[in-house]
Symmetry: C2
DNA sequence: CAGGTATCCTTGCGAACACAACTAAATTAT
DNA sequence: ATAATTTAGTTGTGTTCGCAAGGATACCTG
């Protein structure tokens, strides 16, 4: 009463998929813990600061931010709330369209980001990048490109 | 005032790492949504059922389960609470060690799992496995092995 | 075999998220 | 111009999670 191939993953498929899930879970947990304990900055907050710092005018619309960190709109609202409370970010109205708000990274935000960055990058290298050679990195990067449309559909 | 290579990821490194994060987020969200809407079974619950069904006696200690699904102990306690409420799982005491509780999948749990499985596997194939050839899968599986110890340390 | 320690699981608590309903502003249509 | 629709963002509600603390049982040591 089993249709074999459609109801089972091969051991190889299982390793690739389950490993992906496990790796992500362990990595994110560890990196988050690291960042949180050494700089009081959870990973999601770090990533928002990173995006804002990299943005053309050190600011992004709330909705752009939501897309860029792959979070829901309401998630971003409250995430920016938390960042604003710490004065790492400020909200600015937009003159041309008064519905939109920009989130802009502050000087203090940039300092916090600068201090946290080495920690985070060291972690990403030690826990992730380290384990791939250059060919593998290329292969990975290409693969993520391939499954991007499928995922966002 | 910047130490270049230690404070920046190369574009390739960034693609590999950021892609990994984005891919995971999008994939899990989509698979979870799929499973939830078609079978009322969130991904985490599905995975617990899967582990229990695959276990030697259709049961695992709570702590084994926690390690196997890479969740905190308390997370598993409440996840099993939810499963028990739906009667997909039962808790059983252990005679040899009265501190431990086994979580055992029930007949109903196995039926739900069996019904959900094709949906989930189709999703995993379509959204993830599809995009890798066999060599890449092998390379991936090997890589996850490599970074397993680093992550759990 | 008593006292301390370690292990297994649960519970209190707070943080973070998604979904849906909502307000305000802009755009489009009549 | 005004009404309907769309878009940007926030807020209410419920869910899930991790951490830290707690209770019970097992183990270990003198």
């Amino acid at each position: 009463m089993q249709e074999s191939s459609t109801t089972r993953l091969s051991p190889l498929e299982l390793s690739a998929w389950a490993g992906f899930l496990r790796a992500h879970s362990a990595l994110v947990r560890e990196l988050d813990r690291e960042l949180e304990t050494t700089h009081g900055l959870p990973l999601t907050q770090y990533e928002v600061l990173l995006r804002l710092d990299a943005a053309p005018e050190k600011r992004l619309r709330m909705s752009e931010l939501a897309r860029s960190v792959l979070l829901s709109q309401s998630g971003v609202t409250r995430l920016v709330d938390r960042l604003e409370r710490q004065e790492l970010v400020v909200r600015e109205p937009c003159a041309e369209d008064r519905r939109v708000l920009y989130a802009r990274i502050t000087g203090e935000g940039r300092r916090r980001l600068a201090r946290a960055r080495p920690t985070h990058l060291a972690g990403v290298r030690a826990l992730f990048l380290q384990h791939f050679d250059e060919d593998e990195l290329r292969s990975l990067a290409a693969a993520w490109e391939r499954l991007q449309p499928a995922a966002s559909a």
